[in-house]
């Protein structure tokens, strides 16, 4: 046995041997490693600790460098950790901190080992244990070892002390109650004369403050002292970071710290510290003009520096400032724009951000054009960066800065054609969104969509597929603005569409369906089969010709309107006359159809029998192969259209004689259907707020949380037919019955209560009231093919139209003469913002910690380890008591001369005064008084810092009382 042990030890490969071995392998590295792991598995079971530790060391190496799993060896790790030899112990600890985590079960076994090593007389053993703890501490470990950490905090050895301070951060995050024990000692170390220890303590507070700054506000005087006294850049940077967090919580702090910060900024030679000063000023002290000016000066120094790092950081600082103060950016405009062509990607992106920050309504066109052209010349990655930021800037706040939407749409078209463009999704979204929100721009939208659709080259670029999908959709949805629907149809059915993914193809086919229906309907209407729509048409024409001129199509529309009227008269003189007369009476209803006017010329020219036949043949030909498509969406839609086409083709010959014959004849089946479908398609779709569902009020007596188990027995027979009608409803968009069924469905789903059917019926009666209540602009914004509430959409559009009429003139008069009026963009009252419930919740652990910290900082003495029932209640109770006592004190102070408290020591006198001041502030809430208080405060701070030198012992007490003194002030900001 012993011989084999010795053999094992002698012939064991060391880590170095193994690394050499691995390096020799040119190809079979993984095989070699697998073999090595096998070897280790054998060796690690050895009873000899040395062999075991070497094996573990090799394993740790493999884990760290080659990603080999070592969780199976965790028990061996514990064994090696407990070795008495330092070298082996170290191997064990390294393996533990490398591989242990919350769920490692053996972690329960190491508590005692850690405790033993933490209390070791060898400082390096303590160091190992602390290092390990700082990585792997669990709640249990943190709790059990807090007393040892507490002891170590007063160690005389710097090596141990700084590490035990740093480990507190991990302890707090796992076991917040530890603050009750160790926090005071941690605070004490802020004044430690040893710079390393103090630096560690400041580092810990920087981390703590970044999670919950408010709790550490009472320590501001200590941090201030460090800021003024310290010469160590590392410490100063951390303190600045702390003040950056504290400043927004305590406005008076700014006056106090801004002077030393500016001083540092002027004097320091260290760029890192200077940058931190700049960042602190531009983040938290933007109200201090002189400080900002100084910071901007220094930023400029960074910007013109040759070092790309400094240039980049200078731009960063500017972009922090940008949203609040734009003048520093504008002042350095030239440098910023020059950076756009820098070789460094970081600098380019940062300067792009800044340039986009300068964009406003007046210069958006110019800047966007320059940038989009620049994107053509730059590398693909940055080109996309540019395009993406142009898109997001222009669409900000519902296209806030866009006045000329025709221009913007053509820009979108241009961006889509950029060979590097990968922004398909965003462009697609915006195309549809603009279509839904800005009705005046739809003719241009259709034109842009057409240009994209008929370009066969674009079909090959997968990044553009989404854009094409959107173009197809808008072309179908707003086909009435199309100058040439036949061309559109050809584009939608061109053979190269087979390059598209099936779902987008399905959109193409659906759009083709809409175009087909539109063409057939126009044809039938013109040939007089559908007489009733002549009214709509005439109304639409005159409506448009008289008042509502689409920006782009207006010229066209005017002459078209005239032409169409002529044409109408030719076909049905009586009907059209009547219709024109009727306009005044019925002009409210037909807005949707009013947009059909521009296409009338097309109708006149091309909706002949032959062209329709050609169209039907085209559809038949193109869709024929798709009937066998294995993609259901494509196949189904193709079949739908084919079905319709067949129906129409059967009846089409009959239609022709009707046109020539009498109008009185009964309408054929196909035309009735086409009219119905056309009506269904011409219902307008609008955006709907993402919060719409939330605004549905819960009706009285509805118990949402009630047990639903017996629902099936009561409502089962009702729900089944209901759901089938739901699918029907959603198929036939805009169909009034369908959508009201849909609403019922929603309502009933939310309503699933044990109420009887009669109650359901009652709710049904009222349901129109829940969904989208009285507000006018409640429209959907999510995705395009959504079922809409016809009622509310209609009403919103009415409102918008009125707005158009009202605002048009004022806008025109305000703008430059050549500027077009900005079309109305449909907005939702509450915007599309995220509901407040989604705001980031505060970490409960942090809450616990801040509770504990506040209790210590605001209370007189730390409370022993006992669990507290309710921290906030206790601390607030305490505060109240203190406040009462302060009040009485305040009264007595008022009787005396307030300033003359000579018999008190300096520390307490200042604290008294701060009490006095704070109460004064509470009583008379005059701003002047506040200002006086601020000045006094800053003076006092200087005094204090002066006095603090060299009296560490008394300071602790004085400080404590000043902390207490602040208590009545601080909670005002915190609670």
């Amino acid at each position: 046995m012993t011989t084999s042990l010795i053999m094992e030890t002698l012939f064991q490969r060391s880590l170095e041997d193994m690394i050499k071995g691995i390096r020799l392998q040119v190809i079979g590295e993984s095989k070699f490693i697998a073999k090595a792991v096998e070897e280790i598995r054998r060796e690690i079971k050895s009873t000899d600790v040395h062999t075991k530790s070497i094996a573990l060391q090799k394993l740790t190496y493999l884990n760290s460098i080659h990603g080999i799993d070592i969780s199976w060896a965790s028990f061996h790790v514990v064994e090696v950790m407990s070795s008495t030899r330092f070298a082996q112990k170290k191997i064990g600890y390294l393996a533990a901190s490398q591989s242990f985590h919350e769920d490692t079960d053996v972690i329960l076994l190491i508590t005692n080992q850690l405790r033993k090593d933490l209390t070791s007389t060898n400082e390096y053993e303590v160091g190992l244990a602390l290092e390990c703890l700082s990585v792997i501490a669990t709640a249990d470990l943190a709790r059990d070892l807090t007393p040892e950490i507490f002891t170590l905090l007063s160690s005389s050895k710097t090596f141990v002390k700084k590490k035990s301070i740093s480990v507190i951060l991990k302890i707090f995050s796992k076991y917040p109650d530890a603050a009750r024990i160790v926090f005071k000692r941690l605070v004490g170390n802020l004044e430690n004369s040893d710079p390393q220890v103090m630096s560690a303590a400041v580092g810990v507070f920087c981390e703590l403050a970044s999670r919950d700054a408010g709790s550490y506000l009472p320590l501001a005087p200590d941090f201030y002292k460090i800021l003024v006294d310290s010469k160590n850049n590392w410490v100063l940077i951390k303190v600045l970071k702390i003040f950056c967090k504290l400043a927004p919580l305590e406005p008076r702090l700014a006056n106090r710290v801004i002077v030393p910060i500016c001083e540092l900024m002027r004097k320091t030679g260290a760029k890192s510290l200077m940058f931190e000063c700049i960042r602190t000023v531009v983040t938290s002290f933007t109200e201090h003009e002189s400080a900002v000016k100084l910071a901007v000066e220094k930023i400029l120094e960074f910007l013109v520096n040759d070092d790309p790092n400094l240039k980049y950081l200078g731009l960063r600082a500017l972009s922090i400032l940008g949203p609040r103060l734009i003048w520093p950016v504008l002042e350095n405009k030239e440098v910023v724009i020059k950076c756009l062509s820098d070789a460094d990607p970081n600098i380019k992106v940062e300067s792009l951000k800044l340039v986009m920050g300068m964009v406003s309504e007046s210069n958006v066109a110019e800047i966007s054009r320059v940038l989009v052209n620049y994107a053509l010349k730059s590398d693909p990655e940055f080109a996309n960066e540019i395009l993406g930021s142009v898109l997001s800037t222009c669409s900000r706040n519902l296209y806030e800065i866009i006045v000329d939407f025709d221009w913007y749409l053509s820009l979108l078209g241009e961006i889509s054609r950029n060979p590097y463009c990968q922004q398909g999704e965003e462009i697609a979204y915006q195309l549809v969104d603009i279509g839904l929100r800005v009705r005046d721009v739809r003719p241009e939208l259709v034109r842009v969509g057409r240009d994209l659709l008929i370009d066969p080259a674009l079909l090959g670029n997968p990044f553009l597929h989404r854009i094409l999908s959107a173009s197809a959709w808008v072309s179908g949805e707003y086909v009435e603005f199309s100058k040439n629907p036949f061309e559109l149809m050809e584009a939608l059915l061109q053979p190269r569409t087979s390059l598209l993914p099936p779902l987008i193809r399905a959109v193409y086919i659906q759009s083709a369906f809409k175009v087909l229906i539109f063409c057939l309907h126009s044809y039938l209407r013109l040939s007089g089969v559908i007489a009733s729509s002549a009214d709509d048409l005439a109304a639409g024409i005159s409506d448009l010709a008289s008042e509502r001129e689409c920006p782009q199509g207006s010229d066209l529309a005017k002459c078209e309107a005239a032409a169409a009227c002529e044409q109408d008269e030719r076909f049905f003189p009586i009907g059209s006359n009547r219709a024109v007369n009727d306009i005044a009476v019925q002009d409210g209803g037909e807005r949707i159809l009013s947009h059909e006017a521009p296409s009338i010329s097309v109708e006149k020219r091309s909706f002949t029998h032959e062209s329709i036949c050609y169209l039907l043949n085209l559809v038949n030909m193109a869709l024929g192969p798709l009937l066998g498509s294995d993609e259901v969406e494509v196949q189904e839609r193709a079949r739908n259209i084919r079905g319709l086409v067949e129906l129409v083709q059967q009846e089409l010959p009959n239609c022709v004689p009707i046109k020539e014959g009498s109008v009185e004849m009964e309408e054929p089946k196909a035309s009735v259907m086409i009219k119905l479908i056309h009506d269904a398609f011409s219902k307008e779709l609008g955006p709907v707020s993402v919060n719409a569902q939330e605004r549905v009020q819960i009706p009285d007596g509805l118990m949402l949380k009630e047990n639903l188990s017996d629902l099936d027995t009561i409502c089962g027979d009702i729900l089944v037919p209901e759901s089938s009608s739901f699918s029907l409803g959603s198929n036939r968009r805009g169909d009034r019955d369908g959508s009201s069924f849909f609403d019922q469905q929603i309502k009933e789903e939310s309503e699933l209560s044990t109420e009887s059917t009669s109650l359901l019926a009652q709710h049904r009666k009222r349901h129109g009231l829940y969904y989208l209540p009285a507000e006018k602009n409640d429209i959907r914004s999510n995705d395009f093919p959504l079922v809409n509430e016809p009622q509310s959409a209609g009403c919103s559009i009415d409102g918008v139209d009125d707005l158009v009429k009202l605002t048009e003139q004022t806008v025109v008069s305000k703008k430059k003469p050549n500027a077009k009026p900005r079309p109305v963009v449909v907005k939702l009252d509450d915007g599309d913002e995220i509901p407040a419930s989604l705001m980031q919740p505060i970490n409960s652990k942090d809450n616990l910690l801040s509770g504990a910290v506040r209790e210590i900082l605001l209370g007189d003495e730390p409370i022993p380890t006992t669990m507290r029932s309710n921290p906030s209640e206790k601390s607030s109770g305490k505060r109240r008591v203190k406040e009462v006592s302060l009040n009485s004190e305040h009264a007595s102070l008022l009787k005396q001369n307030a300033g003359d408290v000579g018999n008190l020591s300096h520390g307490t006198s200042s604290s008294r005064r701060s009490k006095n001041r704070s109460h004064g502030k509470e009583r008379h809430r005059s701003p002047k008084r506040n200002d006086v208080g601020k000045e006094e405060n800053s003076q006092k701070a200087k005094q204090k810092s002066g006095h603090r030198h060299g009296r560490h012992k008394t300071r602790e007490r004085g400080d404590g009382s000043s902390m207490v003194a602040q208590t009545p002030v601080i909670p005002d900001f915190l609670l």
């Binding site: 460098i65 330092f86 070298a87 740093s166 951060l169 790092n309 240039k311 980049y312």
Partner: protein, 166 residues
């Protein structure tokens, strides 16, 4: 705090990896690969900072420095100063240079243990603990001495070595 320290060569082979939040081994390798992907695409003489949100989660950035065949990468969050991190890399490399006398990649490869010892003296649980390379070297030398002392007697029976290791 500092989230991770990675040293890798210009071919993307990791030479040292220390993560201050636990990451499973495969995840570590994946992160290292993504970092390398970013670094290898960057030209020479550009700024040393990279936004690392997509790799290490929100509010993280990394700073790297390229020495000979090695990349030194520090990953950190907003509680650290970018330029200070750059300095810290310098401190780390200087320390290595002093410890190994003209450090080269092979030193890093074969001194796995010592690399960790040095790093642990500079960064502790994600906090910067020591920025003076002389202090670090002092501590590292002490630790190495202690290790040697406990190892030289490794073949001596346990009962004897027990007290000596203390």
């Amino acid at each position: 705090m500092i989230r991770a320290v990675i040293v890798m060569n210009t071919q993307g082979k990791p030479r040292l990896a220390k993560f201050y939040d636990f990451q499973p081994a495969e995840k570590q390798q994946e992160l290292i690969r993504s970092v390398f992907g970013v670094l290898s695409s960057r030209a020479e003489n550009v700024s040393d900072f990279v936004e690392a949100d997509s790799i290490f989660g929100p509010d993280t950035r990394l700073v790297y420095k390229h020495f000979a065949t090695l990349y030194f990468v520090f990953v950190f969050d907003s509680s650290e100063n970018e330029l200070a991190m750059l300095d810290l890399i310098q401190v780390f490399v200087e320390t290595l240079d002093k410890c190994f006398k003209n450090v080269c990649e092979l030193d890093v490869v074969f001194n796995f243990n010592k690399m960790h010892t040095i790093l642990d003296e500079i960064i502790f649980g994600g906090q910067v603990l020591e920025t003076s390379s002389t202090e670090v070297i002092k501590a590292v030398e002490e630790i190495t001495k202690l290790e040697r002392a406990s190892n030289t007697i490794s073949l001596v029976p346990k009962s004897v070595s027990g007290w000596q290791a203390r």
